[in-house]
């Protein structure tokens, strides 16, 4: 329908801007909660150091938050500018979720973030604490709504196609809200954000401890980060996203691809720990397998099959054929044929309409597709296994490394000798990038794994784009590349500058650099 380059460039732009936005979001999610915890301790104990901690880590949070706001604007514009047909086709469900995010979350966090920074002298202690917590709640509620929207893209429940308006329409808000995929995603992603904040505070505090600077300040920050981080990483792992992979066909395909499970193996399926997926020959070489594990993870049972990619592809082909019938009946309905029979036939096949639309890539009429086209479209429903297999494993490896760090850090905080464990602190400093690597690869697994769909089983990606020219896309991609690169350089410069300054940047006269000056060094 559209040139492949427009589709490819649109996907590239969305991927880059979303991944870039997601550099800042997890830290915001985590830092606001850590700020809330630190300030709560301040209000309960009255010890100034906790107030200084809230203010200093708040400064770093602020540098990051500005970038989150900047890059978040892009995403709201982008559905309309670049995914116009998507916006028309599912706006009835997706739109109100975004609007709810605006009413319930964006206003909350954005209205109170100003008071968080400028309200210290204008509010009582408790009032300011409430403001900080409202900011934290606002950021997490924001994640709730956007993940309900994203969960619906993975597993579109509570909506159906309306042939009069030619789009999906909401039938049950409760089904959309309590979508199991969305709920699992929310817990997983928000907890991953808390881990990001914790790893950041843990790593930076370790750097102060290693340099023997502001030790009391850093040790307290380290303790809070290790405890909150341990609780969060356990939530991420135990309530892992994978538990959502049993709902819906596309999620099943994603699971099979992550595990490089080509054939349906007899229950309980074994888990492929490592191996070399070979897309062309559809097999996995040198696989190291753990018996029973996949069956347990995916089905929570030992007697259910986990379907392999080849079987799932055959199912896709069947649904594509059914989708062709749905498309044919839809054309009759649209040309004014309102007979009972046409309605019945359309209703019988309409859940497969999206699969029929996959054929639009090969024939605009859909109904005249031959066996070769159907086979090509069915092949399209199987993603590139190697990419998903490896990105997923990178994410999991980051997660378990952080579990180790937080567990050891928490233990040594409990026995009060953490600041003597230099290896641990060094490891914490070098592990600061891990949560970001995990978050970006995790995003990739979820979104790339959903291809060729924007809405699983409902709307193919290649139909979702706006009717733009590739010149327009190059203009926008160029603009994003320019602005985002410059902004990232500036952001990192400020982050490093303020991390190096440490709590001395508060100008209280109590911390390292100012004491050095005071002592004439």
């Amino acid at each position: 329908m559209f040139g492949d380059d427009v589709v490819m460039l649109s996907r590239m732009q969305f991927g880059l801007t979303a991944l870039y936005h997601f550099l800042f979001v997890p830290l915001t999610l985590g830092m606001t909660f850590i700020l809330g915890i630190m300030e709560s301790v301040y209000v309960m104990t009255g010890r100034e150091v906790y107030k200084d901690m809230t203010k200093f880590w708040g400064k770093l949070f602020g540098i990051n938050f500005a970038m989150g706001v900047t890059t978040g604007l892009t995403l709201e514009f982008q559905f309309g500018t670049n995914w116009a047909y998507y916006s028309h086709y599912v706006g009835d469900i997706f739109g109100p979720l975004l609007a709810s995010e605006g009413w319930m979350a964006f206003f909350l966090e954005s209205t109170f973030v100003g008071l968080f920074f400028f309200g210290w002298d204008k509010l009582s202690k408790v009032q300011h604490l409430v403001v900080t917590w409202l900011l934290a709640i606002g950021t997490s509620v924001s994640a709730l709504w956007i993940l309900i929207a994203n969960g619906w893209m993975q597993y579109p429940v509570g909506a159906e196609f309306n042939y009069e308006t030619l789009r999906m329409e909401m039938t049950s808000f409760a089904d959309v809200f309590f979508n199991p995929v969305a709920q699992v995603k929310f817990v997983h992603t928000v907890a991953a954000g808390y881990v990001t904040g914790s790893m950041f505070v843990l790593g930076v505090s370790s750097w102060y401890l290693l340099n023997k600077r502001d030790v009391g300040f850093a040790r307290r920050s380290f303790s809070i980060a290790s405890a909150f981080g341990l609780a969060s990483i356990l939530s991420v792992i135990v309530l892992g996203d994978e538990s959502g992979y049993t709902s819906g066909e596309t999620q099943k395909i994603k699971l099979a691809a992550i595990e490089a499970e080509w054939e349906t193996s007899p229950a309980p399926a074994s888990f492929t720990l490592f191996g070399l997926p070979d897309q062309e020959n559809e097999r996995t070489d040198f696989a190291v397998k753990v018996p029973y594990l996949l069956g347990l993870i995916a089905t929570r049972s030992i007697d259910e099959d986990v379907k392999g990619l080849k079987e799932l592809r055959n199912e896709s082909a069947e649904r594509i054929k059914s989708g062709m019938l749905a498309y044919a009946e839809l054309q009759k309905l649209r040309s004014g044929d309102n007979s009972e029979q046409t309605h019945q036939r359309f209703d019988a096949h309409k859940n497969d309409l999206g699969y029929g639309l996959l054929l639009k890539k090969y024939t605009d009429k859909v109904v005249d597709a031959d066996a070769g086209m159907i086979q090509k479209a069915a092949n399209d429903t199987i993603p590139k296994v190697g990419l998903l297999f490896w990105t997923f494993r990178i994410m999991v490896a980051c997660g378990f490394t952080m579990l180790f760090i937080f567990a050891v850090a928490f233990y040594h905080c409990a026995v009060r000798n953490a600041d003597q464990k230099r290896w641990l602190m060094r490891m914490a400093v070098w592990s600061i990038p891990l949560p970001w690597i995990a978050a970006e690869t995790g995003w990739f697994v979820a979104e790339y794994g959903r291809q060729p769909w924007t809405i699983s089983g409902v709307l193919p990606t290649h139909l979702s784009v706006s009717s733009l020219s590739s010149e327009q896309l190059w203009f926008s991609i160029g603009g994003f590349a320019l602005f985002y690169t410059v902004l990232l350089v500036i952001e990192l410069y400020l982050m490093f500058k303020y991390v190096r300054l440490g709590p001395s940047s508060l100008h209280t006269g109590r911390y390292f650099h100012e004491l050095q000056v005071a002592q004439g060094r």
Binding site: M67, L73, F77, F107, T111, G114, N162, R167
Partner: protein, 379 residues
Amino acid sequence: MFDYETIRLIWWLFIGVVAIAFALTEGFDFGICTLLPLLGKSDVERRVIINTVGATWEGNQVWLILLGGAIFAIWPAVYAALFSGLYVAMLLVLFALFFRPAGFDYRSKSSNPAWRNAWDWGLFIGGTLPPVLLGVLVGNLLLGLPFHLDQDLRPFYDGSFWALLSPFALLCGVISLLATTFHGALFLKWRTEGVIHDRARAAASVLGLLLLISLIAATLWGMSAINRPEITQMAGTSAASNPLNKTVIAAGPGWLYHFLAHPWMLFAPVLGFIGLALAWLLGRGQSTAGAFLMSSIGITGVLLTVGFGLFPFLLISTTDPRSSLTLWDATASHTTLLLAFWITVVFLPIVLLYTRWVYKVIWGSVTEAAVLKDSHTLY
């Protein structure tokens, strides 16, 4: 609770409310950013100007985000056709907005004068380009846009970015910028003392006059320039949303006739002129809150005039009149409109209440002494 027709009309009003809230709140933020490098001579003066909106600009910006989100939810077809059709213009607005969060937050994080000056001009761009382009957009909404829908309701845009910049649309862009800077100058005058207060008053006096003159020119010009299409047949105000189920002729009776046919609508332009004229007069004197209130009323009147002038159209197509989108055939489903209605009815008052509280807490004149005292915490 409400039938489809009623809830469609309610949402037309609600989106108007959100658009007006955006114009009134982010409007003065934009204006202050435009005035920043012009009215502030020294660093500390500029910091005074920035900190008049320092604690609240972020909340104000959510009205823009909400406006986008509400159009997505309520009029998905409008969101799709408008944002993709005006691709380059929308991205320029977006790129300009990028300067704001970083500009506000990063400016004071280094004392290097070149760094601070660069951010001041960044904030200037972020406060100037969006109102100009959004004003041009409003002008084009009135004139109609070249787009059509195909049989699958996919929007196609048939024009170019440069074609948006017609003389009438450019005048609308100028009016928009004059309105934000006038509104911003009155806010600045209200929240400052001394030299900035005096400069803001002088600026408001010039800007208000220019705004009134431009508005009169646009009104007179609009009477002949704006042609409304006419719907000759449609599926009904409660029918399923499909814009192609109607017939429309391109050139119906013009804009002036539309207002004369519904004389009650004339209260909107009257409100606009009286509000802005009073704001200008009051702004020249000692009045602060009163002048700002009047400019808020005036801007509300101008925006209502635009909305009434378009009614029942949301997006007029000049190349394929049948593809024009109206509030009767471009909305979300009945279920979604009702859901969004209840969410709004619950959360709008809550948002207004806590926003009011935040303004109460931070209210007071921003002075040079205060900026110097809290030099390390303020913007």
